[in-house]
Amino acid sequence: MLVKTEVIVLRSMKYRDTSKIVTFYSKEYGKIKGIAKGARSAKNKFGSALEPLSHSMLLVYKKEHRDLHLISQCDSINPFKKLTENLDRMTAALSILELADHVTHHEEKNSALFLLLVEVLSTLNESTRNFKAYSYAFQLRLAALFGYAPNFETCSRCGKNVPAGNNENQVTFQITSGAVLCSECHEPPGPREYGSDRNLAFMPLSVQGLQLIRCLFGTQLSSLENLNYDAHTGNETEELIRLYIKYHFDEIKSLKSEKYFQQHVSIF
């Protein structure tokens, strides 16, 4: 059956002499894989529409009980050209693709995730700074889409709103429950509930860190580039989100693009 669906291109692999095997995240069918014959020859009909990070319209012969479908046509909706014009921006964008690829299964529809991908890539494409913030904002929203929405607003023990607070009143974040504890209910970093790593059950969170993480989770993606924070706050928040995502998605043993973040992308 020939079907048409909007896609974000997640991955592209060389296949045989001139073809490609391409993984898409599609609006109607979730993650699908297709083969594009002749896509690597100079006179191919696909142009840039099959390049990772592109937002494209895919026409594919979809067969039941098949993992690999034949790509008939693919036209670019938006190639998100600026994503590949800056190494830091590109790495942030690729880390988003890698994560989306890791946490999704073959042909399971989730159009909310598709829309989130389009939104985060298009805002990142237009952004001028804070590229890493887009990746971490994506991760928090992804967790929420899969039912692990973190709560940075109310204390999970007493239920009170957690004020932004000050440096004396330490707030903690519990990785396992994804919730904050206010300074009165606060627990020292301790051994409870987090496997063998004793320090991870409760993570201390600075005032600035709490503010930043609330922004990453709550504000519009398009305004992320206006955030201002220092390296320490960025690192603290990054570490917390990383642990939180790893805890909830077992599929992620290690993300290859993460190594790049650490080595090549300027702080946050």
Partner: protein, 199 residues
């Protein structure tokens, strides 16, 4: 398929490991070898082993070669002040066929790929930097594939090389000769416009 001759099975299995060769073709090739005269089979076997024994990487440009330095690096007629950086040895052949480029090459052995975990240390980038310490290089031409990996490599290398004070250029990305402009996709056409030159 099953053959009673164990050695045919073994040979077919070896062929099947080659890129682009399926089970059926592998068996067909194995049977073809069986029918070939013994001398031809020996020549083939020798050619296979020779490739492994004689071919190595040029210590200057990392291209594959039988003599070190390779015939391009040791050619005194080549301009030594410009280096064209490519991903694979077959890219050198492609550019050589144009007869347009008179400088030297550097073969990276691949491209950066964050999604596959291929980083700068997996490519011959250190070797490239070493070349700048011995000789003066005026221009580095980045001739990498127009895809995400090639783009990442181009950005990385330009960031790395520009502070060293040389001219860093990249080959233009545009329309294939003989194609119709109206059928070009937006990205290609945009890049072609960006790379326009005065006539």
């Amino acid at each position: 398929m099953f053959y009673t001759a164990e050695s045919i099975e073994q040979l077919a299995e070896q062929f099947a490991q080659l890129p682009g060769i399926g089970r059926k073709t592998a068996h067909r090739l194995a049977l073809y070898i069986l029918k070939m005269p013994r001398e031809e089979v020996e020549t083939l076997a020798k050619a296979l082993v020779n490739v492994k024994d004689k071919v190595r990487y040029c210590s200057i440009c990392s291209n594959i070669t039988e003599t070190d330095p390779c015939s391009i690096c040791s050619n005194t007629k080549r301009e030594r002040a410009s280096i064209c950086v490519v991903e694979e040895p077959h890219d050198v052949i492609a550019i050589e066929k144009t007869h347009e480029f008179k400088g030297l090459y550097h073969v990276l052995g691949g491209a950066l790929s964050p999604l596959d975990g291929i980083g700068p240390d997996d490519l011959k980038i250190k070797e490239l930097l070493q070349r700048f310490s011995n000789t003066t290089i005026d221009e580095v031409i980045l001739a990498l594939n127009p895809n995400v990996e090639g783009e990442a490599t181009t950005l990385y290398l330009s960031k790395l090389l520009k502070p060293l004070g040389m001219k860093v250029t990249r080959i233009a990305r545009g329309l294939p000769v003989g194609s119709d402009l109206e059928f070009a996709d937006e990205a290609t056409l945009t890049r072609a416009l960006e790379g326009r030159i005065a006539v």
